[in-house]
Assembly symmetry: C2
Homo-oligomer: 444 residues x 2
């Protein structure tokens, strides 16, 4: 091992091979405190050449690698298990000027989502992915995990934004395709299959200056779906449709000290956002005026008002985290199954972990529910098993956007057939024969 450490120090410099446990610690536990492990060392390369050197050195030594971006993942994929070199990409923070003709930009893996957004907006454009972890989540991690978030309805997931990639393969070879062609049909799209993402060429979207947000109180999940269907049909600028429930709103209100949004409490809440070139407020108000299924609604067009309404939904993750370490699942089902799933989750959770607190929220248009359970005690695995089996019975996915990581690997067969898993194993073996890249992640 000391030979490998020596070699790594030669590549990245002494200061960037962290062996001391105190220095490693921030990298060895995820931000939710649900996953923790030990790395042989943390290596912090500064550029693609250094990443390639580190990967080649580990390959030569037969030492496994776990790759980490902003460490905001939710399934433990970036956390080591004891034997790995932890490769942190946060020093790769370069970002090129925006290309206004192509509406694209090239960013290194360690650029945070927030910095990417800021950079795009300064050039009069915007980036199509947004999510609550924007201040820490990085380009490399977003690509590697195909991150989702609140704009999937409008612009698709992270992979849809990628027009070019630079990555280091399992043997240390660098593959670079950064010319950013909008269409290129010369063989397999390797975006998801290459090794360590070091740089990405990303599509940008128009910066839409006018926004309006509605918070709507509803009686049932079915009513929220009916409103969404009408919103998709009527609103040109629909940009987000975010679902939450009374329990979650109550938790957020007590955590963030927010007033009640309406005189009455509602079982279900929906945040709708429109973004357009000209003010979409009238369009949104008209939609809500027509709607028999609505209990109450409030609309804000100014920035402060929009932030205030978004807070009821967006503070969920933080409020939950402040209340304890939850069992955290991320599932999606076909829309026609969603109300049934939402109705069956409380008794399912209660049967396994009586008295535990279930908080549901998510991205309505994708049928995507984040299932958070506080106070499940020692029942975490049993609870996960019960919920994911319920999701599978509704023809759903056990991971809508967070990925499988280590946390869900043992349940993969609930979402993928034996033939698919065998196919993935064959591809993984072809690309990483000794299995040194993130062992134990995805394929159990």
């Amino acid at each position: 091992m000391s030979d490998l450490f020596e070699r790594l120090r030669e590549i990245v410099g002494d200061a960037h091979v962290l062996v001391d446990p105190d220095l490693r610690a921030p990298y060895e536990t995820d931000w939710t405190r649900r996953f923790t492990g030990t790395a042989r060392c943390v290596v912090r390369p500064a550029d693609t050449a250094e990443v390639a050197g580190v990967v080649a050195a580990c390959a030569a030594a037969g030492t496994p690698i776990v790759v980490q971006g902003g460490n905001t993942g939710l399934v433990g994929a970036g956390i080591p298990t004891g034997s790995e070199v932890l490769l942190s990409l946060t020093r790769l923070t370069g970002i090129e000027p925006v290309d206004p003709l192509e509406a694209q930009v090239t960013a290194e893996a360690g650029v945070t989502l927030e910095n990417l957004q800021r950079h795009a907006r300064a050039a009069g454009l915007d980036f199509g992915v947004d999510l609550a972890a924007r201040s820490a989540a990085t380009v490399g991690g977003l690509v590697a995990t195909n991150a989702g978030g609140i704009r999937v309805l409008r612009y698709g997931s992270m992979r849809a934004q990628v027009t070019g990639l630079e990555a280091v393969l399992a043997d240390g070879t660098v593959v670079s395709r950064l010319s950013g062609l909008a269409k290129d049909n010369t063989g397999y799209d390797l975006t998801q299959l290459l090794g360590v993402v070091t740089r990405a060429r990303l599509r940008l979207v128009p910066l839409l200056p006018a926004r309006a947000v509605a918070l709507v109180g509803l009686a049932t999940t079915e009513d929220a779906l009916a409103l969404l269907a009408r919103a998709r049909g009527a609103l040109t600028g629909l940009a987000a449709a975010e679902l939450c429930y009374a329990d979650g709103v109550a938790l957020v209100r007590s955590y963030a000290g927010l007033p009640a949004p309406f005189p009455e409490e509602y079982p279900v809440y929906l945040v709708l956002e429109c973004a357009a070139r000209s003010d979409p407020t009238d369009e949104l108000v008209e939609l809500l005026g027509d709607a028999g299924e609505i209990g109450d609604a409030t609309v804000a067009s100014d920035a402060a008002g929009r932030t205030r309404l978004w807070a009821y939904r967006e503070a969920h993750t933080e409020a939950i985290s402040a209340a304890g370490i939850p069992v955290k699942l991320d599932v999606s089902v076909p829309l026609r199954e969603l109300a049934s799933l939402a109705a069956q989750l409380p008794p399912t959770v209660d049967a396994v972990a009586p008295g535990a607190r279930l908080i549901l929220f998510g991205h309505l248009n994708e049928g995507n529910l984040h299932v958070n359970v506080l106070g499940a005690g020692a029942q975490g695995t049993e609870l996960t098993d019960a919920v994911l089996n319920l999701v599978a019975a509704h023809r759903g996915s056990i991971s809508s956007e967070h990925g499988v990581g280590r946390a869900k690997a043992r349940w993969l067969s609930l979402s993928r057939s034996d033939a698919e898993i065998a196919t993935m194993r064959r591809i993984k073996a072809a690309l990483d024969p000794p299995g040194l890249m993130s062992p134990g992640v995805l394929l159990p």
Copy 2:
């Protein structure tokens, strides 16, 4: 071989194993008459189970397969070379009712694009891909080739429409994932890697009732790019931006008997289409009124007028085909390289094939030019070599949307690095160890 024929007849019925050369002939030559070959037989299964049976029987016999949809491909990928069983999927024409809540539909591989569009529109929705071969191109072929066309600017290529797939692997195993989840991050997206596509779950888009089309005459490719940049910034409903040149418009006019679009001739023509919920004509007219770079322009909002303006662009393929068998290339470059490529193509072609007729047209937003050369005589390969090297020098792709097929396989290394090609080979070997699926296609 007679054992295999016997087995295939058992699976699909005597009438659907075509051994007679006259019966095979329509399948053995592509519609452009550039690719022709011989199949051992043509097999026409009726459903997924029969496809699986055929693939398993061929795998057991060690006989290679070439898969064919509507036979509208442009790179010879569906044409046999002598030793293959040709698997035609045109009898898989089932299509399920549109799901309005999800805005999705499940269609079998042999459904034509035109029938899919008609089916979606009857349900008040639309399909996001459109291309001139719509009457014959099929869902299976569109997915397998990741087809592009005239709506990529608005909705992306074919793969972006796929939310679920059923396919038969190289060993005859059926993989089915048709629940149509908008997001599902449980491992590799195998859409492009599985074997024979038998069914797809497809995303639908809003049916936009109001359309306006402009035909614009311009002095240079740079002017067209400047207009596109302004159009992207100003038009909410921009749905297509199609480029052509004076030579092509002259050919189309003489083929289709069309009048001159403007009193003067222009070197460059751009078709812009807007599609929206309310009439986009004013928005389009306003854009064109502002534009210093425009020579002349005409706008049509009614269906007949739109068809008339589109004809100058859309009849290119047919007019070229009527004039002879062209050398046909399909390339894309970064937008800032496009004007330079367009300027260098005529002398490049003239140097290799003096007197040949070069017709360029394409999808401007993707930097995608269709390069057609009539009268190249025996210089086809040399011409292809010269043009594709010119494209590579402009950091472009040798196949923007048509794919590599057999026609471009020997030039693959102009667009993909050795490391990428080696990676593709490893994946191909992992999925199809004996190499029986479409041998010679993509990887030379």
